[in-house]
Assembly symmetry: C2
C-alpha cells in the first residue's frame, strides 16, 4: 500500500545464520524510513495449523505434550507444522487424527495469525472441527502426547493454573467462549 | 509433575548456534521417553508484553508497523520486549506510552502465553488498560509506528482483511468481544 511507504524497511543485506530441519535463521541489515540502518534477526518457519475440536457434548480435545523450549509439558490444541506444499485444511485433518485419533465431519476456518511477527514469519491457521468420531491416534515417531477432553470451565481453570498457556490455545478458548455467548444470543 | 514423567525429553547435549541482540538459537539433542534420540531447534527470547488499551468510547489503540519477517506492515496491539529484569507491568506502561503516547490509570492482567512453544520460549504478558490519557509518543530510534483507534467492528474487519493478523492482537480481539458480551450479561 502506498500509505505504508513511510514505514517500510528496505533490505541492504541478508546473512543466513542457520538452516535447520524446521527453522532457518537470518540476520538482515535494513534501511529505516529515516535513512538510518538497523539489524533484524529473523526466524523463518514453514507455518502450522491448530484445531479447536469440540465433541458433541461441547468439550475441547486437547493434548498434553513436553515442549523442549519451555522444559515442561503444557496442554494445547492439537497442532502441527505444514508439510511442503500441504494445504492448511489437509494438515489440520491429518494432525487432528494423528495426535488424537479423532476425525471430524465439519471444519471451519476460524483465523490465521502470525505467532510472533517481531522475529518470526510463522503463520498459524486455526480451524474449528465438529462432528467428531474417535479412532486410533498415530503420533509421529518423536511425538509423545496425552489426549484430554475439557469443558470450557476446565480449560479456563487450566489456563489460570498455567497448564494451558500458549497463544493459539488461549486464543481458541476466547473464540470458543464467544461462540457460546453467541449461541445464547 | 510425576504424571508427566512418561512425556519428558532429557537433554543429552546443547549447542549454541547464534547469540543475537534479541534472540539466541540453540540445537539440543534429547532422549525421548521411549529411549530414542531427537534434535530440537530452540529460539530463546527475553519475553514481551502487549496492551489492549481501550479508550473511554470503547476503541482499541493499535499501531501499524513494518514487520521485517513478514516484509509488510500489520496492525497490532502496542507491544514490546522486556528489558533485563523489568517487571511486565512496568514494561506494559512504558511500551504503551512510548508507542502511542497514552498513559492509563488502570491496568489488569488478562493472560500470559507462549507465542510459539514448539520452537521458542517467548512468553507474552497481555494487559487491559483503561482510563487513557493522551500524550506525546516517543518510539525507539529504530521503531516507526502509526497509531490508530478502532472499534471492535473495525478491528474484526481489519482481521478479515488480513491487516490485523498476529496472535496477541487476534487473541485480544476475542477477549475484548467476551468482555462486551459479559457487560451485556
Amino acid at each position: 500500500m502506498n500509505t505504508d511507504r513511510h514505514l517500510i524497511e528496505k533490505t541492504i543485506s541478508s546473512e543466513t545464520i542457520y538452516e535447520g530441519k524446521i527453522i532457518k535463521v537470518k540476520l538482515d541489515e535494513v534501511l529505516l524510513p529515516d535513512g538510518k540502518k538497523a539489524k533484524r534477526e529473523i526466524v523463518t518457519h514453514p507455518g502450522a495449523v491448530a484445531v479447536l475440536a469440540l465433541t458433541d457434548d461441547n468439550k475441547m480435545v486437547a493434548v498434553r505434550q513436553f515442549r523442549k523450549p519451555l522444559e515442561r509439558t503444557i496442554v494445547e490444541l492439537p497442532a502441527g507444522k505444514l508439510e511442503p506444499g500441504e494445504e492448511p485444511l489437509t494438515c489440520a485433518k491429518r494432525e487432528l487424527q494423528e495426535e488424537t485419533g479423532y476425525q471430524a465431519s465439519h471444519f471451519v476456518h476460524l483465523s490465521s495469525f502470525y505467532t510472533s511477527p517481531g522475529f518470526a514469519d510463522e503463520l498459524l491457521h486455526l480451524y474449528l472441527a465438529t462432528g467428531l468420531k474417535p479412532g486410533p491416534a498415530r503420533p509421529d515417531e518423536d511425538e509423545n502426547v496425552e489426549v484430554l477432553e475439557l469443558s470450557l470451565e476446565e480449560a479456563h481453570e487450566l489456563h489460570a493454573q498455567g497448564e494451558i498457556g500458549d497463544a493459539k490455545t488461549v486464543l481458541a478458548l476466547f473464540a470458543w467462549e464467544n461462540r457460546m455467548w453467541k449461541a445464547r444470543g
